[in-house]
Symmetry: D2
Subunit: 426 residues, 4 copies
Amino acid sequence: MIKSSVIEETNETSIAALREDYDSLGQRLDRRGISIDAIKAQVSDYGVAVPSWGVGTGGTRFARFPGSGEPRHVFDKLDDCGVIHQLTGATPSVSLHIPWDKAPADDLNAKAEELGLFFDAMNSNTFQDQPDQPQSYKFGSLSNTRDETRTQAVEHNLECIEIGKAIGSKALTVWIGDGSNFPGQSNFTRQFERYLEAMKRIYQGLPEDWRIFSEHKMYEPAFYSTVVQDWGTNFMIAQELGPKAFCLVDLGHHAPNVNIEMIVARLIQFGKLGGFHFNDSKYGDDDLDTGSIDPYRLFLVFNELVDASHRKAPNFNPAHMLDQSHNVTDPIESLMVSAMEVQRAYAQALIVDRPALEAAQDGNDAMTATTLLKQAFRTDVEPILAMARLEKGSAIDPVSAFRKSGYRARVAAERPAVSGAGGGIV
Amino acid sequence: MIKSSVIEETNETSIAALREDYDSLGQRLDRRGISIDAIKAQVSDYGVAVPSWGVGTGGTRFARFPGSGEPRHVFDKLDDCGVIHQLTGATPSVSLHIPWDKAPADDLNAKAEELGLFFDAMNSNTFQDQPDQPQSYKFGSLSNTRDETRTQAVEHNLECIEIGKAIGSKALTVWIGDGSNFPGQSNFTRQFERYLEAMKRIYQGLPEDWRIFSEHKMYEPAFYSTVVQDWGTNFMIAQELGPKAFCLVDLGHHAPNVNIEMIVARLIQFGKLGGFHFNDSKYGDDDLDTGSIDPYRLFLVFNELVDASHRKAPNFNPAHMLDQSHNVTDPIESLMVSAMEVQRAYAQALIVDRPALEAAQDGNDAMTATTLLKQAFRTDVEPILAMARLEKGSAIDPVSAFRKSGYRARVAAERPAVSGAGGGIV
Amino acid sequence: MIKSSVIEETNETSIAALREDYDSLGQRLDRRGISIDAIKAQVSDYGVAVPSWGVGTGGTRFARFPGSGEPRHVFDKLDDCGVIHQLTGATPSVSLHIPWDKAPADDLNAKAEELGLFFDAMNSNTFQDQPDQPQSYKFGSLSNTRDETRTQAVEHNLECIEIGKAIGSKALTVWIGDGSNFPGQSNFTRQFERYLEAMKRIYQGLPEDWRIFSEHKMYEPAFYSTVVQDWGTNFMIAQELGPKAFCLVDLGHHAPNVNIEMIVARLIQFGKLGGFHFNDSKYGDDDLDTGSIDPYRLFLVFNELVDASHRKAPNFNPAHMLDQSHNVTDPIESLMVSAMEVQRAYAQALIVDRPALEAAQDGNDAMTATTLLKQAFRTDVEPILAMARLEKGSAIDPVSAFRKSGYRARVAAERPAVSGAGGGIV
Amino acid sequence: MIKSSVIEETNETSIAALREDYDSLGQRLDRRGISIDAIKAQVSDYGVAVPSWGVGTGGTRFARFPGSGEPRHVFDKLDDCGVIHQLTGATPSVSLHIPWDKAPADDLNAKAEELGLFFDAMNSNTFQDQPDQPQSYKFGSLSNTRDETRTQAVEHNLECIEIGKAIGSKALTVWIGDGSNFPGQSNFTRQFERYLEAMKRIYQGLPEDWRIFSEHKMYEPAFYSTVVQDWGTNFMIAQELGPKAFCLVDLGHHAPNVNIEMIVARLIQFGKLGGFHFNDSKYGDDDLDTGSIDPYRLFLVFNELVDASHRKAPNFNPAHMLDQSHNVTDPIESLMVSAMEVQRAYAQALIVDRPALEAAQDGNDAMTATTLLKQAFRTDVEPILAMARLEKGSAIDPVSAFRKSGYRARVAAERPAVSGAGGGIV
C-alpha cells in the first residue's frame, strides 16, 4: 500500500482544476439533459477485476524483459493489486491462476481483507506442464486422445473450484490451448466430442451458485486449428453444458476485421454472455493495454452492454476482467490506466442519448444515429472518472501518484531481480 | 448443345494416353489397397449444381466487361448450363435466381428435360430493388425496420417456393445483404429479432419435404455490420427455425485466416450443415474459380465431407453448388473447370487412408497424419475424372472440346452484344 | 447555395453555448500551455478536397440505391460541393473525374468562381470502358499486353492533364484497376515493366509545376493480384518516374491490420508522400465515412503529419482529399461530417505536447508517451471547429443547417429521379 | 549419422515400385516434351539450408514441450543436421545462430567436414538479452534510443561476421524485434534513422564477397509497430545500404491475404531479393512446416524463381533456408519433410510449359495460363525426388528410414532430458 498522504499531496495540486472541469462538463451534460452526478455514481460503482498474472512483466516466445520488483508469489501479486485498487478505486477484485497462486485459503483471505480486495473468477491452467505432472499436455488437455490426460485436466479444474470455494469465488474460467498444428493431426469432431465430455464432468462439479466460463480464441498456441476457435463453437459449448455455462469474450481472440461488438450483442440476446477479458490488439492476441489501439471499438462494446442493461436483457450479468501482457511498461501503471480506460468507455456509453438513438435507428437516419454515438465518445469524461476517484480517496492522477510514491523502488529492494531469457506465462 | 461428333473427335486424340495413365494410376492405387474403379464410380455419381447467374459475365462495383454471346434470359442460361453438363457430366442441376429467371414452369421443365438437367435450390433476391417494387431494400429486407418492407421480402421468398414447387426444387436458399454501414445505424438485437421473425414466416410456408438454407457472409454489401455475419449467427438461425433449416457455407464469406474446414466439421457435428457455395478467394468474397487460389483448402473441406460420410454422420446431406463471378474468362469454361476441381477434391479425399489416419490421430503422430492427407492430395487423379467423363460421353478435355465446338461464336451471333459500364448482379 | 439567413438562424440557437464551450476549452488548453486561438487559426486555414463523384450515391456490385436529387452532371455536382463548403468552410476545392466531368473549361471556371471553389487534382479513369472507346480495359489499361490499349490509356491521362491545365489544377492522380484474377494470368514482372513504361510517357507530359500521384490498392477490382498493390510498389514507381512523382495513400487500400500511420511516416521520410484519399474501413476498401470506424487511427495519421510539419520534413506537401462511397446517407451530409472529422483529427494532433512526447520517447517511457497522444485525442475540440466555422459565416452545426435549408428537396424537384439496379462508379 | 545399411534396407522394400513410378511419370512428361532426367538433375543439385535452432523443439509464449534427445549444443545440432542431409540429400548447409552456436572455428569446421556439411548465412541475435550483457534490448537494439545499446548490437553483428569468416560463411542475416507496443512509444522516423545508421556501420564491416540480408516482419515481438515491418521498408534499407545489401523474405512475415509471390517478383525485378526463410502459416508467423498449409502458394513462389532464372534476371541468386518451429513433431522429421516440400515445389515449377504460359499471358487467355500452372502443380513429382535421393545414397522414404534407424532413441540416451515450462528461442 501507499501512504495516503502521498495520494493527498498529489491530489492537492490538481484538485482546483478538477472541480472547474467537473463543473463545466456538468453544465455541458446538463444541456443534453444528463446529470453528471448520476453518471459519476454509476462509474464509481463499477469495478473490473485484475488478473494476478498481470502484475508481472509478460513476454513473447522470443524473450521476456523483466522489470524491477517483479512479484515472487501470490502475496506479492496481491500487494501490487492492492496498490492498483488504492489509487484507482476501480479494481476491487483479483482473479487467481492455479497452480501458480496456490496458497492456504486463510492466508489468501486475510491478505485480501487487509487490502480491501476480494476474489473473482478462478483460472485453471492446462496449457503448460508442471514439474512432476504425470501426463503431458503437449497434445492437448481436455480434448487429449488419452483418457488419463483428460482426467488429469478435469481434476485440475475441479481442484480450482475447491480452492475458489474457500476464498469466495463464484466462477471458473476455462481456457485451453488445445488444437493442432497440421491438417489431419486431429479429427475435429472426435476432438470436440472429447472436449465436451470432459467439460461436462467439470460442469457436474460446479456448485449451484457458480458459473463456468469457456473462452474462445482463434489461434495460439495451436497454429492450424483450435478446439474452441470462435464464439460459434463457444456458444455450442455453453448450450451443451447447461444454464450455468456461459461464453467469455477476450477482445483479442478474434479473426482480423471481425465485428466484436456484434458478437457481444448476439451472446447477450441468447443469454450466454459470461464476461470479458479486456485488452487491445492490432495483429493477433497482442494482449496490449485496453483501449490503447482502438478506443472506439471498446466504446462500441460498452454501448452494447449499456444498451442491454437499459432494456433489461435477461440472464445478463457479465464478469469484467483485464487480461493483458505488459512487456514494456510497469505492470501496475498499465493496469491502472487500463482500468480507467474501461471506466471511460462505460461512462461514454452511459451518456449516449438512447431514445434519440432508437428513433434514428427506426427511421434509418444513419447519420444521426452514428453522430449520437460519436458525440458521446468524444465527450471527455475524465473529470467524472477523476472526481469518482477523488471521492473514494483514490488519486486524481494515479500514475503520477504511483511514481511519486516510490512503491516500485521499495518492492524492488525487497524482491530479488529475475533473469528473463525465454518467454512464458507464469 | 454441342454435336457429339465434336466431342468424340477431340476425345479420339487423347484416348490412348488416358487409358495408359488410368492403368498406371490404377496400379499405384492398387499398391495402396485402393480400387481405382470404385473411386471412379463415386466420382461419376457426383454432381454439383450450376447457378443460373454464373453463365453471364460478372462484374465489380467499378465495371463489368461483358463477353460475347451473353445469355439474354433463363432459356439462354439453361442452354449454356446444358453445354457445361454435356461436356463434363458433372453438373446435372441448375439453381435459379428469382426474379431474373421467372418463366412459365412448363417451359422451364421442358427445356430442362431437353437438356438433361434438373432444378436445384431456389434463390431469392432481396438485395436489389426491382422496377415497380413498392418498398425499397436500401435499408434492409427481412430485417428492415418497416413492416411493409419485411412483408414484401417474406412474400417474395414464399413466391420463390411456389415457383420451385412447380419445377421440382426442394430447397430455398436465403441470402440477404442486410446490415449497416455505420456504428449505431442499426440496433443489432432488434434487427436480428426482426430477421428471425420474418424467417419464421417463410419457414412456415416451407413444404414438408423442403429445406431452407440460410447463408452467412462477413461483409458486403454492408460494410460495418451484417445481420447473418458468420456461422455462429447462422447456426442460431437454423436452431431457432427448426429441423428443416440448415446453414449454407460459401467458401468466400469468412474472415481472413479462418479455418473453414473446421466450421464445416462443427456444422456437421450438430446436424446443421445444409450445403455449399463453392468458389475461391484471396482477399474477400472474391468469387474466384473454385480451387484456383488454394486447392489444398478445398481438399480439406472435402476431407471433412468424406469423413462424415464414412462415419455416417446423422442429418448429413449437403447440397453442392458453384457460386462464382467470372470477370475475365468465358463463364462456360470457368464453370466446367470449377466443377472438375470440385470432383478432383472429392476424388482425392476418397483415397485418403482413413484407418491409418485415425490411428495416427489417436497416437498423436502429427507427421504421419498430415503426410497421409498430403499423399492423397498430391495424387494426380485427373485420369479418374477423365475416364468418368469419357464413359458418360463427355469430353476428356472439356475446355478443348468447347473451344473446338464453336459454341461461343454461334451464340454470339444469336445473342446481341451488351454494354458493360457499371457492375451488377443480374 | 443556401440562403445565408438559414445559416444565421440556425447558428443563433447555439451561439451562446458555443461561446461558453469555447471559453471553457480555452482555459483547459491554456493550463497545458496551448493557445486555443492559434489552434483555431490553423484549423480555419485547413481545407480538404471533395471528389466530384462523392456527391452522388455510391453502390456495390450488388446494387445501388439512389437518393433523391442525384446530380446529373458536373455542374450539379459543383452546386452540391458549393453547399458543402458553404456550410463547413472546410472544403474549398473539388477534384474532377474524367471523362464524367468533362465540360468547357470556361464554364467550369465560371461555376467554380461563383461557388467560391477551385479545382484540385485531376483523376483519370481507365478502369471502365466508355461507349465508343476503341480498346477495352477488360485485361488492363496502362499495363495491358497490347500496345494500342496502353497508348489509349496514356493518351487519356495526357488529356486529363490538358483539361486540368485549363482549370488551374496542378496534379494528376492515377489509379488503375489493372491486375489479374488467376495465378499465371499475368507475368508480374512484364506487366509492371509495361506499367512503368506507360507511366513514364505520362510523366513526360506533366507540366513543370505539376505533380503526379500514383495510388496503390491491395485488391479490387482485380482479385488475385494488382499491379500497384502496396506502398512498396508505389514507392518504386515514384522513384522510377522522378522528382514530380509521389505516392498517394488511400486509407482503405491496405491489407488487414497494417499500420498505416507508419507507411505515412516512411513515405514522408523518403520524400515521396503525395497525399491522401481519406475514408474509413472495417473490412476492405469499404469507402466508409472518414473517422466513422476507427477515429483514433485517423488521429495517428495526422499525428505523423503534424510531426513532419513540426520538424520541417523536406518535400512535404501532401494533398488532402476525401474519397468515400455514400450508400445509405445523404452524400452532402456525409461529406460535411467527414471534412469535419479530418479537421478534428488535425486539431487534436496540433495539441499534442511534442516536446514532452519526444522526451518520453527518448526515455522509453511508453506509458507517458502514449498517454500524451490519448490526452490530445480525447480532448473534445468541437468548439474550436465550430468557432472557426462561425467566424467564416459557415454553420455551427452544418447537418442541422442543411436539413433546415430544404436544399435536398429543392434539387430533387429539379433533378429527375434515377433508377438504381446495378452498382457502378460514374 | 545413420548406418548406411539401414538406409539400404529400407530402400530395398520400395525400389521396384519407385522405378516403375519413375518410368511411368517419365513417359507422361515425355508426352509434354519434358525430360524427366533433366528435371531430376536440377532437383538433385538443389539444396536448402537448415537453421541450427530448427533441430530443437520450439515453443510458444505459453509453453514449450520438449521432445526426447534435444540437442545440448551446436555439435549435437550439427549431428542432427547431418542426419537430415544424409537421409534427404537436400540440406547440405547449416545456418548458425550467435551467441548460442559459438564454438571454436576449427572444431566447427572439422565437425562439418565429417558430416559433409558447410555453413550458410550467419544469424545474429539482438532480440533477447544474454546474461552479463551490459545493455538491455528491452526497448530495441539497432534502433534503440541509447547509443551504447545500438553500438553493442552493431558490435555483436560484426562479431557474427568474424565468426562466419572463419567457417566459410558468406552472408549475414539481420532480423531484429525492434518496434513498439503503444502508439507514441517511438517516433517512427527517428527510430528508422537510428536503425539505418547502425546498419550502415555493420555494412561497412562486411567483407567484399559477403552479402547482408535484412528481414522484414509485420509484427511480433513488437505488437503495435515494427521497424522493418514489410518489404517496402526492407527495400528502402537495401537501397540505402548499397549493392551488397538484399532483402530476405520469410513466408510467414506478411499481413493477412498478401500476395507473397508478387513481392518476390518485385524484389527480383529491382535486383534486391536476397533469399528466403521457408515455412508455412495460417494466422501469423506460425512457423509451421513448409508447404503444410498452402502448398500451392509455395509452388507459386517457386514459379517466380524459375521464371526469373529462365529469363536470366540480373542480380538473382537467392539464398534458401528453412525457418520453422517444431512444436508437436520430431524436428528431424519435420525438417526432412520440409526440405522435400521445397524440392517438390521447385520440381513442379520446372515442368511448367513456359513458352505456352507466355503465349497465354500475352493473349490474355487467363484460363489456359492458370491451367498450365495447375497442371504442373498437380503432377506428382515424388518419383523424381525419390530417385534423386536414391542415386545419392539417401533414403527413398526418409521418415521411414529415420524411424527404423533408432537415431532418436540413441541420442535420447546420450542427451539428458530438459524441462519445458516457458517458451523461448535458443
